[in-house]
């Protein structure tokens, strides 16, 4: 049996599945039940300053996007940080950590960008016995209007400054949670590293409006006829999160900085993908909110089965294994040539590939009077669109042309050498190949 135990910035947990800072981790009752269900760790719902807690709206705080059969694909929220008193949260954190010493308990914090604010809260958190802290520089709604959350996360200098305070005033490992609402995710990651962060976690939620009520002309979710952008999460955001994680993992300046991967993790496979792209563990929010805490059982069994099948003895065996394969477009092999192939036995003759290629691509699929669809090799540019719109999995595949084979489209034989844009004759900046 594969060993799922995980050690992230020195914090041990029986598996790499943590609950992200959000409603599932907002109180002792939830966290205890989460641990009983099998979660490896939690990042407690973000704590704010001492004093009167924040207030939430009293109408809907969620909007959603669904796929077929009303499968929840994307969730949007306008919830703020915890609205329970600081001392209640701290007391509960302490009790839970005491009762579950083998689970990771990390505390998320968001206080104003003032040294004193951080200096005062850190000892209180440290006193709970929590394993570490996560700095919430990501919340994109409400708190950002008050100069916190993503308002900090969008200014690398602030990130570096606050991270430094945290390292200075606490002995706990510091994880900096990044906002995706920024053009280049590497900048805040570098700033976190410069400030001494032990790790970054990402992504927090993405600015979003899930829909508009066309009778009242109000954005959704709607509070008394008005709406405000919320933060988007769930399966829909996973591709964005994967890309951002990979950018940090392969950036020479931040390469090796531990990453906690967040965003749309719903199954064991999602988790494995984040980890292959460099995340040391993953955090989950929407999947738990959609299916309940029990969903972690599938993540545990699935990851462990996959690891057994692939011979990965521990999670460290595959973390980061896909990072070397993420590269810039300019380094992709232009001599790698494929053609679409339609399996006539599997084809159900819906014609979607034809519509897609004929109307929007390269007119490379022919259609006969009796609905036989075939690829025209002399037109196919291998874009893969037909594969993606085909409703039958595995019906259309991309076949690689072997070196020496004729590419009917260009009339040239496939070269066996790797060659990319940097040396391509059409590239005005091409460097001549080394003599």
């Amino acid at each position: 049996m594969a060993d799922l135990s995980s050690e992230f910035v020195g914090i041990k947990s029986p598996n790499p599945f943590w609950l992200a800072s959000a409603p599932p981790t907002d109180k002792e009752y939830n966290v205890r039940r989460a641990f009983e269900a099998g979660w490896g760790g939690v990042v407690w719902k973000t704590l704010g300053e001492e004093g009167p807690p924040v207030v939430n709206v009293n109408g809907p705080r969620y909007g959603a996007i669904w796929g077929a059969d009303r499968r929840l694909l994307g969730l949007n929220n306008i919830e703020l940080i915890t609205d329970r008193p600081l001392e209640v949260n701290l007391r509960e954190i302490k009790q839970v950590k005491r009762d579950y010493p083998d689970r990771a308990v990390v505390v998320s914090i968001m206080v104003p960008c003032e040294e004193q604010a951080w200096k005062s809260i850190l000892p209180l958190v440290e006193e709970t016995g929590a394993d570490g802290i996560e700095l919430n520089f990501g919340c994109p709604h409400g708190m950002s209007e008050r100069g916190m959350g993503s308002a900090v996360g969008q200014v690398p200098e602030y990130i570096e400054m606050v991270t430094r305070w945290c390292k200075q005033y606490s002995r706990m490992p510091v994880i900096v949670k990044l906002t995706p609402n920024i053009t280049d995710i590497r900048k805040p990651a570098r700033a976190a590293k410069a400030g001494g962060a032990d790790a970054v976690s990402l992504i927090n939620t993405i600015n979003s409006i899930t829909g508009v009520d066309l009778d009242s002309f109000a954005p959704e979710p709607t509070i008394d006829g008005k709406g405000s952008h919320g933060g988007y999460c769930g399966p829909a955001v996973k591709p964005i999160a994967l890309s951002m994680v990979s950018e940090i993992a392969r950036d020479p300046e931040t390469h090796g900085l531990p990453i906690s991967g967040i965003g749309g993790v719903t199954t064991w496979r999602d988790a494995a993908e984040f980890m292959a792209l460099g995340a040391g563990n993953v955090q989950v929010c929407t999947a738990a909110m959609t299916y309940g805490f029990k969903v972690v059982q599938e993540m545990i069994s699935g990851l462990s089965q996959w690891m057994d099948e692939k011979g990965h003895a521990s999670v460290a065996d595959f973390v980061g294994r896909a990072v070397p394969n993420v590269t810039d477009w300019q380094y992709l092999n232009l001599n790698y040539i494929t053609k679409a192939r339609i399996d006539q036995d599997a084809c159900i003759k819906c014609g979607r590939c034809y519509a897609a290629c004929e109307d929007t691509s390269h007119q490379a699929i022919s259609m006969s009077a009796d609905r036989v669809f075939e690829v025209k090799d002399d037109e196919c540019v291998a874009c893969n669109l037909c594969v993606n719109v085909c409703p039958v999995e595995g019906c259309i595949t991309m076949e690689e042309l072997a070196p020496g084979a004729m590419d009917e489209r260009t009339g040239r034989k496939v070269a066996k050498e790797y060659a990319n844009w940097t040396t391509h004759p059409n590239n005005p900046a091409a460097r001549p190949a080394a003599e």
Partner: protein, 443 residues
Amino acid sequence: MGHSPFTPGVAAGRLPSEAMTRNFGDLHPPLDAHEATVAADRCYFCHDAPCMTACPTSIDIPLFIRQIATGTPEAAAKTIFDQNILGGMCARVCPTETLCEEVCVREVAEGKPVEIGRLQRYATDKLMAKNSHPFSRAAATGKRVAVVGAGPAGLSCAHRLAMKGHDVVIFDARTKPGGLNEYGIASYKSVDDFAQKEVDWLLQIGGIEVRQGQALGNGLSLDALVAEYDAVFLGIGLAGVNALRAEGEEVENVADAVDFIAELRQARDLGALPVGRNVVVIGGGMTAVDAAVQSKLLGAENVTIVYRRGQDRMAASGYEQDLAASKGVRIMTHAMPVKVIGNGAVREVEFEYTEDGPGGLTGTGERFTLPADQLFRAIGQKLDGAPEGLALDGGKIKVSGAGRTSVAKVWAGGDCATGGDDLTVTAVAEGRDAAEDIHASLS
């Protein structure tokens, strides 16, 4: 050869062999990977799921379906086997329409349940095809337990005990293990010798010795087992059958449906198995339906089930009745047999119509006859050969808690014991729970 459904009397080979093979193929063909994904995607992963409560073995159905949906059918199979080591057979034979699928929220809402049974088969087939056994034994306890009966109850009990580190000896009266999985279940529910394959796979856990041809009451006594072993589990099923009590039933070609089915299950060549042109089956349960349907599939021209009460009282589910009807079996209700007519062998059966009155079921006096070359009795099985000294209740071994009988160190479960329906899955649950109780009492 050369026979057809119209050949008079009782004859073998009424159908060409291809037709026979088709008829006795899988009733529900296995799902392929794509079908399984589509079927699994329909599950809502309900909280405290009704299907799980409805399953006598409490399989974590939402979890195993999610494991299929995420591409790990082997993990799904493990989830199933954790609760039900005969999950492969149950996937084939459970009347899901009255168990898990009946209460699926999508059945209730849309009349179209998640196909739990077929998904269970998909997962268990995947793991069993690898022929590896997903469980291992705990450290040896040095305790020895005797299990009598190698049916679902006995096998499930033995496996759980072996897993806990006890050594188990199974004693079974017949020549092959499996109980009714091997001798009773309709052929088209368990094709390709699945029952024996499943037993072989189950025994891979180790620590279980099976002794066939050893009957309690015939050379083997409960007292001796109690003296020799640390505990005894009885899973002997219902070896006896109820009598018909119709005049003249001693003639040829009148038989117990269970014997006909056992013969059919053991036949190497179904083309050599004789069946009547006109077959009459008396009874209203699963056994009656199975005997009738399989007679039809062997090529009988006319097959009639005659049940003495109304259709709503039949023990066979609506689904089973529809299956019979779809195969061309006629179901007659409110009629009871009074006389078997025939010189040497059955030729006709005379019935009397019945009505339910305040004083119970009575004949109306009106009679009719049905031509019959073969008559099968399927009016229920009963406990036969229960060891002396065990308290009985309603003709079954009386148990309390997890299968505790009135005698110390002796547990019982499955069809032979009180409680639960007479179903494969119930027998598995009772065997498993008794094993847990035995384990607790031994440690």
